[in-house]
Symmetry: C2
Subunit: 154 residues, 2 copies
Amino acid sequence: MISHDSCEQDQSGAPRRLWGMTFWLLGRAARNAQQLTQEQLTSAGMRRGFYGVLATIAEFGPAAQAEIGRRLGIDRSDMVAILNDLESEGFITREQDSTDRRRNRVALTRAGRGALSRFDRAIAEAEDKLLTAFTLDERAQLVGLLERLVQPPQ
Amino acid sequence: MISHDSCEQDQSGAPRRLWGMTFWLLGRAARNAQQLTQEQLTSAGMRRGFYGVLATIAEFGPAAQAEIGRRLGIDRSDMVAILNDLESEGFITREQDSTDRRRNRVALTRAGRGALSRFDRAIAEAEDKLLTAFTLDERAQLVGLLERLVQPPQ
DNA sequence: AGGCCAACGTTGGTGCGACCAACGATAGCG
DNA sequence: CGCTATCGTTGGTCGCACCAACGTTGGCCT
């Protein structure tokens, strides 16, 4: 149970004007979703942008910090902090790129791959909890609509 | 045009693993939507939680600060700051509730009503921009799904 | 009546995420 | 060679959500 005080996140009594407004609903949904998943994820040892970074390296191979950031829409300066954490957990390694000494070559470790699949399971679990009330069709609908919203057909 | 540097919000190159994950898509969608609307709204003189508060008072009439916060899922302490701003803009008035001296009776001013309808127009414009690629049916679908996500069982 | 608990508004502080400015180092190109 | 751009890094700002504590006030119970 959350509901210490303060917010209570009832929000069923919000003005009708707000229900039906996409930007409002998106904000609320994102807040609730993150709140719901965070509990699951932090208990799995996952922080900040861990998952996105690990998934990016896993899919595209070792890359420079700036490139990872560009793929994820994360600022270079914020990437530094994330990678510091990931490195101190032993999930990634940073070494100077031999072909361009400005770049760091960020690579996954074995522990990093293990963490990624642990996070995969934790996220799947959290999403299931978030979407209990939805049929598979509806989940696909939601994902499809959100994908188009995030990535407008160029 | 934003794209000063840093983020660039391309994110078309994000790993496939992330596309299809609700919590990730929700976060991105909310970020993009807010970013898109904020530009419109700040130019209309709207800040922070202005719209939600004004809309709440407009629909339910004058109310205590804590009640507005409860309806919107906003902490009491944050409400204070929002109402300070709204008051200094002349959009609301605070007076002590005569029946319960703990409460403040927060009421809309004429200027507040005017601001609310200005914000209404600005938001409608922003949402149209956000949802250009969507048919009316799809917009309704999206809103319906998000509503159920925000407002789970009963 | 008195005593206890809950709610109110307010202050102050925390943490997180996004963003921006600047630096030294390095690469590419004219 | 200079000029410009990119890289990683540091440090700082802003907004939002959250929490703890306080003094005030109301409601309730015995």
